[in-house]
Chain length 278, copies 3
């Protein structure tokens, strides 16, 4: 029985997530449900797409991801189910899957439109409960994609995060601020989705990027502060001091040893980050 | 093996919930435990009763609900186990089950007083761990209600939420504010528990209520603001604008498209909501 | 299949915990994972050690605790696996296990250094995902301690919480503030770890301690406020009034009936608590 992983902006102060799990348990009682996170900022589709991209590969094959961040619930956007590699996804058609799908050029995406794979009563405002959770449970039960929807090829895609490449600099944006106040940027050293975009490597070529990283010959600037070089760990600067490092998902972060960089810099999602080389 | 669903005001910043799950796993290792929510406001018995009423029907038959919001822990209130339809409930006797039990006139309620279905050491202050969680686990193992307590017929009942019906208006109160700042009122279009109370239908008759809803001929006022008509979804007003709609549980809500109505109106639980007809 | 319980300072706003569960499900799909808590204050090793000590005994035998509060991640501290009584523990070697291990003089502790029981790629900053979660999953699969690490006898140990004993008083500190604002002190009536430290019993002898408790002949002072005697429950004072009691884990707490003592007294972790006898 596959794992079902949930990623939403519903928070956990209400019964929304509990109810979705109740629906899943009603249809697929053997499924194991894991919360990926429910603390995506309300309507933060890009933040969710980024979180999903950095997380999904740590789950077992056959995992079904239910991802619901949905500014347009009940308006005209479609519901999707997708098969990409060993994984399945259930999501609104608003770009949430775009970074994951980049890695799978042969992914198959369906509009989820079967009336028999949803709850009998479908509300206008809680498709997580009425449409997405039931669909995931039916997939967990082995239901066929073809019986649940119809193949589409015009999935809504998010724009890439902000990126400006100059001769000796690379400008990106803050995509996530974590519990510790670490500011995770869109500037990565690994590949973005399946391609090389918004990466040191893409901007400067693989060889020079490797040289830059090895030499630590970078200055990272954000909100008026600047850090020189990359630390290896969060303990790489004095307590309370600002630093930069490559985080566990392969993206450049700004952090404070045992403190909050986001608080120190008054940072928020979308703030610009500039990396200057040399 | 049945599902056990937990609803408390314990929050998740402490180990209270983890410990209750440890106790359940010790007694009924096969039980699947689902968090309904732990973010009920401290001592918010009515909020919990409302949350339970709107959520329980989405869980599979045989689900056992452990609901602990307990201003009087260790004082004289009794502990209850109840069987209502296909569901079981474990709760303090302070009204928490009253809205659910309204739907089940033939529910059987017992005082949970067996000394052999609790932990050996019972503290004065954490009955969730010492009494309620073990009782749920024993129910999950198939234990008989009769062996765990004695039948009672004088369960404590909450008063209905505030309601004043005039010729052309209906006044209720805010029972829940969700993560998005949506303000959920006590004024519903479906049935309250098993009866028709505090409902458009009850106030104005089924026919006129249906006409009112179809025509959207309402003005909803709260904390000095007023909204005209009911939107179909949260996208039914301009971004940042106030609106009203019937939420996914069947109750009238005040919301802001991609914003927080509660913040915009400075709302809190118990605030009055007035619906004027025509 | 054993239970795996997680205790961290990671919070739940990010995908860190979800990803750790994905890793566990990949290696040990049958394991049942329980969140003990993820809201330990960032880098709060002592708070975590205290939480673990008060919680672990409520879990079933064979439970594996993964505890990650790790100011020095990636610096020189070692990773540990430990067997103590019926329980196993995976933790950084920074004192997190010290209060639990006090209760088990025959505990066996290993440095976790096997390269085959971690993820293939190990980051510098997220050992919870790359080292600790995989180790717990392998233990759940029945792997032998000896194959995963090498026995050590110089585990890092936390100092005991602050304690000063005078002829007629006992001074401790606040170790935890819970969701309700209850302030849990280091002064206990049961045994601390396996020994008698920082306890009424240790300070004044078993007989006098029992007399003191029975008579309630104490004044508890903190941050300028003083409470006389011990209540039995949180309802033991008037609504909104300050009180003191022995909490569900056996430690003296300061509380407010249906309110927050921590807020009333402006309390924080480490604040001094003085108990005066007679």
């Amino acid at each position: 029985m596959p794992t079902i992983a949930l990623l939403t902006d519903f928070g956990i102060q209400d019964t929304y997530i509990g109810v979705m799990k109740g629906v899943i348990a009603s249809i697929a009682p053997q499924a194991q449900v894991i919360d990926l996170t429910h603390a995506i900022e309300p309507q933060g589709v890009q933040q969710a797409a980024f979180a999903l991209m950095t997380a999904y590969r740590y789950f077992p094959p056959k995992t079904i991801f239910v991802t619901v961040v949905d500014p347009g619930v009940g308006s005209e956007r479609r519901a999707l189910i997708a098969r990409a590699g060993d994984y399945s996804f259930v999501a609104p058609d608003n770009g949430l899957l775009s970074y994951v799908l980049k890695a799978y050029p042969y992914a198959m995406v369906y509009e989820l439109n079967s009336a028999t794979h949803r709850l009998k009563q479908v509300s206008n405002t809680f498709h997580g409960r009425d449409i997405f959770a039931p669909a995931a449970a039916h997939l967990a039960n082995g239901e066929n994609f073809d019986r649940m929807g119809s193949r589409i090829r015009d999935v809504v895609t998010l724009p890439q995060p902000y990126l400006r490449v100059e001769a000796d600099s690379l400008e990106g944006e803050i995509l996530h601020i974590d519990r510790f106040g670490n500011m995770v940027s869109s500037i990565g050293t690994i590949e973005w989705g399946g391609e090389d975009q918004c990466m040191l490597k893409a901007a400067f070529g693989a060889r020079r990027a490797a040289q830059i990283l090895a030499a630590g010959a970078l200055r990272i600037a954000c909100n008026g502060a600047e850090v020189v070089g990359l630390s290896r760990t969060y303990a790489g600067a004095g307590t309370g001091e600002l630093m930069s490092l490559v985080g566990s998902s392969g993206f450049v972060e700004i952090a404070v040893n045992q403190g909050s960089a986001a608080q120190a810099l008054g940072a928020k999602l979308g703030d610009r980050v500039v990396i200057r080389i040399g």
